[in-house]
Subunit: 272 residues, 2 copies
């Protein structure tokens, strides 16, 4: 039997999926739920404890007391300012060494992962735990992008890759060659909501989401799920294009049914 | 006496400023107000006509009938889809030649400027008409950026220049090293409103606005005015940094009084 898995849980649907996956495979689990981020419903009936983001010493102690050996960081966190974070001595020690403000999100996550490994935990990616985690290359579902959509995907990909290289965001929405919106820290859901008001007449836009080049792959994979598809349909999108073999899709079967029902395409983009 | 100036007016405050400037200098003016973009109040008491964006033949005829020889394109337009634009034969001819969807905003504006010149008009930039149009290098107003703000400006500048090179947008908001938001077609006002909800505790963010490298300088200069400052203060910004000798500042004296009153800095960035 595998060791006890610790799930450090932020917001979004990914932590819940990991808990369900562990339940299905009978794997022993402990959830360290981050205050202000993790969803209450997710930890119901699961061994768990709540912890402040800045309380690193408490968090580490909780993981050890609960015999966690393998760790997964799952779900987003809204990165606070240093003053709102109120780091305890353990977190302050880390930040003093790495610098908090100097690092982008990727740099910070990489440093946290490294620190956890130095503390003796084995850190794994969510994709290693989920079944069929990644979107494969090519279309999922029935609809295929047409010429205009392919051109929009290409445009979005160029912008998204450039932004990713700057550690800014993962997502871009393009409609008929126009970049309607670019994601920074507001997240993909907010980007989608905003672009609903900016859309033009005629063929709808495309959401393109890619992995940032320097992204710590064990901590912050691009993720899509049912919510992305439903919001996308409301936004008037024609489809969604994500990086293949890097983007986690949650509820794959439901997602495919939802895109088919909404008449959207969903494609995995190979590295070209 | 100079020839009659034609102002092709989109949205925002710039067209009104040009009208006022012509009034002050006694220059003869005719406003071609673009439907759905130009503000009604701006044309009151000024020789003008309204014109659809797609009605190029009508627009050209109106300019000729009103003896316009020199033209300025001023104010933003929300670029519509081709179907919403309903181009007349004259616009269709232009788009057939240049391609509408294939071009970014800059490419399209450059093509329009070139076309107007081929039609015999002299196209000038708004900065050539306004007095003291550009923000100079260094601070306007009393407040100076501190170390953290300078670091945020540098970060924003890197992102804004990269985005500009992709013809995406001009503006970026950075707080304590975090890119809170990136401007695409929603415009700077919307970017500011959105980032108010995303701000972190502690020292506020910085708005950085630069000229896109390929930007048609006679048609689409970055512009700031009183509204930018007031929205910036509401957003919790600490300051605004714009490209010196390229960014038009409207109501300079009022803007300086407003930043001083709000405790914001406003600096012109030299090319480094």
């Amino acid at each position: 039997m595998a060791d006890r898995l610790g799930i450090v849980a932020g917001c979004g649907e990914l932590p819940r999926h990991l808990v369900e996956c562990c339940r299905a495979t009978g794997r022993d689990v402990f959830v360290l739920a981050l205050e202000g981020a993790a969803e209450r419903a997710m930890v119901e009936g699961v061994p768990h404890a709540w912890c402040r983001l800045g309380a690193a010493a408490t968090g580490l102690a909780l993981l050890r007391e609960n015999h966690v050996t393998e760790l997964v960081l799952a779900g987003g966190i809204r990165r606070p300012s240093l003053s709102a974070l109120r780091p305890d001595w353990r977190a302050a020690k880390l930040f003093a060494r790495i610098g908090y403000r100097a690092l982008g999100d990727d740099g910070l996550l990489s440093a946290v992962v490294k620190e956890l490994e130095e503390e003796g935990f084995r850190v794994v990616g969510a994709d290693q735990l989920l079944d069929q985690a990644f979107v494969a290359e090519g279309p999922l579902g029935r609809v295929r992008p047409d010429q205009q959509a392919l051109a929009d995907i290409e445009c979005g990909l160029r912008v998204a890759r450039t932004l990713g290289a700057l550690d800014v965001g993962q997502g871009v929405i393009v409609q008929q060659g126009l970049v309607l919106g670019v994601e920074a820290i507001e997240g993909t859901d907010e980007l989608l909501r905003r672009c609903a008001a900016l859309r033009r007449e005629g063929p709808g836009g495309v959401l393109v989401k890619v992995e940032k080049p320097g992204q710590e792959s064990r901590a912050d994979r691009p993720t899509i799920g049912l919510r992305t598809v439903l919001l996308g349909a409301e936004t008037g999108l024609r489809g969604i294009a994500v990086e293949a073999n890097a983007t986690i899709v949650l509820d794959r079967d439901e997602v495919i049914r939802a895109v088919d029902r909404a008449g959207l395409f969903l494609v995995g983009l190979g590295r070209s």
